[in-house]
Symmetry: C2
Amino acid sequence: MSAAMTISDPWFTSLAPGRRQALLDRARSSSAPTGARVYGVGDPPDGLWAVVGGEVRLVSYPAVGIESVAMILAPGAWFGELSVLDGGPRPHDAVVVRPAELLHVPLAAFEQVAAAHPLIYRDLGRLVCSRQRSALTFMGQAIAQPIAVRLARVLAGAARASGRAQVQVRQEDLAAMVGVSRQTANRTLRGFERAGLIELAYGRITVCDPERLRAVA
Amino acid sequence: MSAAMTISDPWFTSLAPGRRQALLDRARSSSAPTGARVYGVGDPPDGLWAVVGGEVRLVSYPAVGIESVAMILAPGAWFGELSVLDGGPRPHDAVVVRPAELLHVPLAAFEQVAAAHPLIYRDLGRLVCSRQRSALTFMGQAIAQPIAVRLARVLAGAARASGRAQVQVRQEDLAAMVGVSRQTANRTLRGFERAGLIELAYGRITVCDPERLRAVA
DNA sequence: TGAAGATTGTCGCCGATTTGACAATTGGGG
DNA sequence: CCCCAATTGTCAAATCGGCGACAATCTTCA
């Protein structure tokens, strides 16, 4: 099962070999079709997950009827750490967007690992820390930067996270991530396209010039 | 952002007695005058801090020339955990707003505690988790809720966090927290005042009706 | 293949917010 | 104690973004 885990995720590869192996030893491989829900908002923690192939997104519902994609997870990414660490309910829906291969370390199995390797808690804490740092910069951007900058940042982040230039995302989702209407997002995106930064297509966006895109952000 | 920190801090009181005592044993007490900077943005971690008396605020600078108060820390609150756990630079300035009594567990001392009590990492991770959950709800609010709701939430949170009805904060700071102009914040606040929810004064706001204020949020 | 649903591109209007400006009030330091 | 800086209260003009609407394009599935 570990064959596919060669994707270099900064968190997982930074783990001490013993703890990394302990996690993999207890992980179960599974596959999930598009649309499947790994877990839902409010669920009690059921363990740790990793994306081996495909794509998973964490989506939240800030208000009734509003959906906001919080994070796009590419192969190599581990997720679900927050609830595993503090025992609280899941803050997101985790939904499969492209047919996915997953790893699952059930909660009981994780606790066995933790009993043998207490420092796994520090590792998990560091994962939460990286999420927290992302959230902090996002909050700063959200209220202080103009729309174009926020959009550019989200786009560049999505492209870099997925490791590919083509990002499969609806303009409506992008708009929700940045907190503007679809129409406004569309106008800004077409501005980027005219500048040669990106290319727009049905249901996906291709980042042509990551350099300048990050320069905008 | 608003973190709930009463005198009996939920995080610290939830610690196992052994680890709580180990922290206190290594903590040094100190006092700092108004305006003092406990640490600054970008500093390397120097350990864990706690507010015993007075008030400390974590402020960030989302863009040049813009200042945004991220969190108000009242007696009982521990802070600085993020950089201690992941070793990264401080994401905030920690500044003393009212003459403060502080506890400081230097980084080396903390690592001694951690060597003897590895589970302290889980405790620290859970503190980061609570911050992360606050950040997640904040991000949802920021882009989906109207201004009045956001302002009411920030105000109610600040009052509850400080444990007193009088909150010493400039309207300009409040505006920056919710991401609107000072004029707009002022108009909304005066609306609250006319409704009897709060009372406005020079440099401070008194929450008269916490119940209804939270009902607005 | 064909039709239905989903997504994008693009209007114009309207309300809300920002910006800039200025007076009034308050608090602190010389 | 008084002056100056900081903060608040308020206004008008200008701008920005949301909303509704609609056509065009694309995908999917029967």
